[in-house]
Amino acid sequence: MQKYDYKEIFKSNLWTNNIVFAQMLALCPLLAVTSGATNGLGLGLITIGVMIFSSLLISLIRPLLTPQVRIPIFVLLIAALVTIADLVMNAWLHELHKVLGLFIPLIVTNCAILGRAESYASKNPWFPAVMDGLATGIGFTFALVILGGFREVIGSGTLFADASLLLGDSFSVMELTLLPEYRGMLLVVLPSGGFIMLGMLLAGKRLLDSYFKSPPPETSSHSACSID
């Protein structure tokens, strides 16, 4: 039986192959939601849930699939899961649903879920598939919170505003006003500012990666450049 390196799965999905920062997928929900860190965290948490269930289901029905109809079946399952999540949250997590309600249908448009279903869950047993879904979801949440956090601090001078609405009153300590009397920077809150911030974060990730990577030995020729 094939051994699965779960550490590698998490490392890959969180950093080296992050769905947003490396694969540049799922940008539509990302830019729409991340005007603040709280919204990003909320959408990220629901996405984790949907990804775990979609990976599990798709991995379980994997032997039955045929190449001709696999994509419609993935889409059908993901859309159904998101709708169920929407209804269940509306009924039993109503306050949270009021904050995030608008964004939940956006999860269907998240090509990251379909991407993982196609490239991982449909080819692996259920446990690694679930782990991969979890790791990808955490990687996506990480990107949402980082981008949302930067945009919120620069755009309105706060961090995790309204977090108590999302997570309950005990989390109100998370709500920080970093720049009191700050007039705000509208551009960063608007979608165009989201693109600009995303570009800066991508550049920052590149810088970090090249800083931590040991410099290539002098003798190596150009053809030895890795392409991963």
Binding site: P63, V69, A91, L186
Partner: protein, 217 residues
């Protein structure tokens, strides 16, 4: 078994059957979830509506359950949803959903008007105005919207029903005149509509305090 399955997969009907059965499964799952959640969702929405109503109408203004009966009427070519608050059998106020065109799309509002034509309260329910500029119409961002309480068609005079820039009495926001202008206009129009249809809204002809008869236009 797996040999059989592989053989079946080659047939033309297999993908169709697979697609069909997955669709059937998904539909039944959705139906089940819908049935389980329909009642809780309706309860939650009723709670939300009660909270909203309490914001725009003091509880001593009525003695019935205004939300028990929802009215949906066509008035002046527009569809309106409203509720009648009653006290001692007479309509004491109406709570009405309305919308006005803002800077970028509709601004949905809830307006409560007392039977004497005075505004009891106005709240913005949802809007797509520019964040940071036009969203001061939300109570969460500023108390501008509270300034409507107690006003009526004669108070202030008609020319006062405009933002200060247009010679009226309402403050505009820095960098956003269109949004408050739209809200002022929307509220003023609703007050006019109420005045013109007062007989209908207050069920004045309906002498007997009968809550069962629903008037239709």
């Amino acid at each position: 078994m797996s040999m059989n399955l592989d053989k079946m997969k080659q047939t033309l009907v297999y993908p169709a059957l697979l697609m069909g059965s997955v669709s059937l499964l998904v539909c039944s799952l959705l139906l089940l979830t819908h049935n389980l959640t329909a009642q809780p969702i309706a309860d939650r929405q009723r709670e939300d509506l009660t909270k909203l109503m309490n914001q725009v109408l003091p509880s001593n203004a009525y003695d019935n359950q205004p939300l028990d009966q929802k009215y949906q009427e066509q008035i002046a070519d527009k569809q309106f949803i409203f509720y009648r608050a009653r006290k001692l059998g007479k309509v004491s106020a109406i709570i009405l959903f309305t919308k006005t065109s803002g800077y970028s799309g509709d601004i949905n509002m809830l307006v409560a008007i007392k039977e004497n034509g005075e505004l009891s309260g106005v709240r913005v329910l949802s809007h797509t105005e520019t964040p940071g500029l036009g969203d001061d119409i939300e109570l969460a961002k500023s108390d501008w919207i509270l300034g409507f309480s107690g006003l009526s068609l004669g108070n202030p005079e008609p020319k006062g029903w405009a933002v200060k820039k247009d010679g009226g009495q309402f403050d505009a926001f820095t960098g956003a005149t269109i949004t408050p202008r739209a809200v002022v206009k929307g509220v003023y129009e609703i007050l006019q509509l109420f005045k013109e249809n007062k007989v209908f809204f207050l069920e004045i002809k309906d002498a007997t305090p009968d809550t069962d008869t629903q008037k239709t236009l």
